[in-house]
Subunit: 336 residues, 4 copies
């Protein structure tokens, strides 16, 4: 198979703000390598301390995604495998902010209180691809810190089912604003297909992000993201799953946070069961001792928790989804 | 200073089931090295598949702790630093189980449903100190897995304030059943002192535990745990904190799980502020990008989440609590 | 003004399963009296004990709504007032059921556990309009109980903003599946308008319902519901509000349940402030002592709690939304 | 039987701040009528706008209870029935307040945020027993409102089990700070006995309280409360239950709020089952349509929700707990 490299760079009017309810911007096939420019969550409009998000951005034009891409052959009941081959910061800076009534350590529209809102403020970070660093500069003192660059895609998903269209701010079973650092280059994401063509879209790159995205905003960047897709026919996937060379992960999206944990672990127990032949309670027991539970976000409309286990701590599992992760990884590597 | 090594091995009747409301079993001083035998969470009564916890154990005689130890010089308003010098499995086996109406993937006394309870079952693990492994054996198939031994103390705390006595099952601001893998050898735990003598107690060792302790039970072991203490006078500590050579961590205990996350991150932001000189919003921003949020338990009466940041990702911090972690670590190493 | 009575009875293919994303079925104006047939939440397909919902219904064809109706003159930023003039059961029976993984006393897709699902079962109720009763018959014994008939509309809303389309199962700021007994005849519902024409739809009648709809399903009925609308220009409404002759109510939709409580009370405090001239903390204090907090549902994707206060317990309030409730009530009464 | 009227008025040093961990102040028997003076939640120290609770009160000396009373014949495994014969305000005023980091519409020690705290403020209410009114006076404007006097006991409970002692601020299965308006005169409260003598205590009267106690504080009053007790031997009670002439209620205490709802409804379903002979799913169905779910508090360490159903909407139930409510009600009436 010859892989075709398809570049896609949206103009501003092409950006999408929902999963579902949109016409596709392009068609892709298994074997294509899609190279997508993604704008940052502020649409590139926050560039300095004076650009307060609440002033330069206008709801609902936040967290734009590039797409949707119509995936040939994807039908409801299938699974779409999306391998993130590379995520490259598109600029030499990123931004973060506090945001009125958004974030884990402030009252919000839903955890509503009568207190004054937290101050809205912008932080500008340096992003140095060569050095592999992200530079934090304090705003009130002259402290500075270098952190490792660890690019990730915050928002990636397909159209939801049930004739729904969901804001790109929302993470749920269709993917969306998962906001987990686990979606870095080298990972393969599995999403259940709900509509003809799947309608894949992505955006919201982060140069890095702490677990939970406490302040509500990562180090937001535009990216050039390269990905390859494959459709696993006739295999449904209820909740997003992630595979890397060393581990498998299930993603739960819900409030309260313990329900996100429950969804992810319930799904992972079933996945381990099916890959290893362990019976349910044995799989539950093994995941309970061997698993980790990295938190994605604790700020979005649904919170995100992952349940993950190292393949090396499982009875030798059969390849997930027929070995698609390995296949796409090799393909992508060949073109890298 | 000459360190005195104080061994303590409780007889069955000396085991405690609360923090608070008990007379001390021994007195310790800064400079002492306390070597404590801790029984497992089942009081050692679950030794095989036939020993169902609900039959061999009797409420409230679960999760025994060894202690309390009266710490000389500890007064309300002080902080007790407890360095875990070593945690050694006391037997060559551990046990785990499912438990009726306990655990993250079952209904419970509080998340009450009308469904049948999950089956109660016991798993026996091999614990090989020399090889550094924990051996899982499936109960319904013949699968087996070796996992790294990673001993931790599940329950450690002081007497709570406000004249309370709390079950050893409960994690809260006084410590208690925190159930986090971060409490391994090499860590220093900081707890606010609420009563004269602090009244330190510990137990509930795990050979290892997944994040969240999904099934409600780790790989439960008896241990010999060696620890050293110091009292930081006049410095209060609101929520448990942990320090290792490389990181600082704040512990939140609450339901729902997001409140445990909030408590931990709120505390860590304040701690980072005080150690680095960053102002509040700058510290919030830095923790949001640099922090991790390992989940402790999602099964106990309060859930546990930690907020942690690597010291290397902070503006050079001053030593926490006057450098007590380094001091106790060296002392313990000298005697090791 | 002459009121026009507009009857609307959808054929099966006209039923809608989302708010948003649909073309209007009819246009209505202030002054019209709309008489809508609403199917029950099962599309009328569950008629006896053998009609298990999971077998006779097919996702996402659950909880159909009649509409949407395009309301002339309604623009984003306006408020739509909907007066429920009458809700008449359309048949002499209703049904309820338990449902696999749905309801407050069972694990669900989100509060996911490994236990067996609760049994799915159907209850058929007699509905006697003349006697004003709903008859419960036990399925396993021969007990029977008469309860007062108290018809309500479970699902009523407008298209959401942000280009979203939401399942009719979901309650949120656009209304939707609020599932509160407070939406009985005589009440006026206020909803913020998000799209041109508002796009009002309704369905899911209940002959009666307990607070919280514990089993996930009310006494489900088809209805003929008569309503009148008015557009309040230039006045936004963030969360659904309800007015009766004697009280005002704010509706919060969220998980966990306390956030629904917070939203509702935060909104009611602001509403009381604006109607009475009380300052914020005084309004908070008064609502804290005088208010009630009836729970709507504890089973839907968002839970619903109302905050309500009797007008008689407030400093004499000015008429809400310019007195539209009284106006529509009189109009409807005149045509009754 | 001749009823003995036992008056008890604690001096300040006798007030208790926990359930459990205290010696009894008096012994009572079935047939006694106990007349208890209860101090308000501030220990009577907040008497005007200048008496800010955080300044005049000192933790943990908040929410004092009178007692504990040793109930003759009460043993673990029994149920204590407590009939509230009368609750009389002891003064002609009451107070309420906002409180730093306490209440439903503010961040708290657990829902921790970085925002400034809500302002602390005191409201003084007039309490007119003869007129049956509670008078609200705004602090920033000259508005005033009369509300019906509806006296209740906020905190009543027994010693918890498991060797615990719990702060009087906490509601849980032992009762405690339930903060529900349903505990007014005429109600009988059932509590499971955990220790020899039960150790009953009570306090925290409210002249009235909104559902949820949104601001964290009711209209706090000292009371003279008259009650009668009876021990139901050999009948355990897992969660608090309340009976009135017309209804039965189960009380759930937990976070998040939906777990309080679940506990209460799970318990009520079982109670209805045992009183009526309905089978579980039938009882679940009936409670789902006939029940109400009044919220108690959404501010205390555990939130409180009640599940209640009118006796008239049940298949004729047998008298609860052998008819003790009727017996105590008559006895109390005879002495009234």
């Amino acid at each position: 198979m010859t892989m075709e490299k398809i570049p896609y760079r949206p103009v501003r009017d092409e950006l999408a703000y929902t999963f579902g309810g949109r016409m596709p911007v392009a068609h892709v096939r298994a074997g294509d390598l899609l190279e997508v420019f993604t704008e940052d969550c502020f649409g590139g409009l926050v560039r300095g301390p004076a650009d307060l998000p609440s002033q330069v951005c206008r709801m609902p034009y936040l967290n734009p995604v590039s797409g949707p891409f119509f995936v040939e052959g994807a039908e409801p009941g299938d699974t779409l495998a999306i391998h993130l081959a590379s995520i490259t910061p598109a600029r030499d800076w990123g931004v973060s902010s506090t945001f009125p009534h958004f974030g884990a350590l402030t009252s919000t529209s839903h955890t509503a209180t009568l207190q004054p809102a937290l101050e809205e403020r912008v932080w500008v970070y340096g992003v140095d691809r060569r050095a592999g660093t992200v530079s934090f500069h304090a705003t009130e003192t002259d402290h500075a810190v270098e952190m490792p660059l660890d690019p990730m895609i915050g928002t990636i998903g397909v159209a939801p089912g049930g004739f729904e269209a969901r804001s790109s701010i929302v993470p749920d079973s269709h993917g969306g604003n998962l906001d987990t650092p686990q979606l870095r280059a080298g990972a393969t994401l599995y999403l259940g297909v709900n509509v003809h063509g799947a309608m894949l879209a992505l955006g919201d790159g982060h140069a890095r992000q702490g677990e939970g995205e406490a302040c509500g905003v990562g180090v937001e960047i535009a990216t050039t993201t390269t990905l390859a897709v494959e459709v696993i026919k006739g295999v449904p996937t209820a909740w997003p799953r992630v595979e890397t060379d060393t581990s498998i992960m299930s993603v739960g999206c819900a409030r309260p946070l313990e329900d996100a944990y429950r969804i992810a672990h319930h799904d992972l127990v079933g996945w381990v069961e099916s890959l290893t032949g362990l019976k349910t309670l044995d799989a539950y027991q093994l995941v309970s001792q061997a698993g980790r539970a990295p938190i994605g976000n604790v700020c979005d409309p649904n919170y995100t928790v992952l349940a993950t286990v190292d393949k090396a701590l499982l009875p030798p599992p059969e390849p997930a989804y027929g070995g698609v992760h390995g296949r796409l990884r090799q393909l992508a590597a060949g073109l890298g």
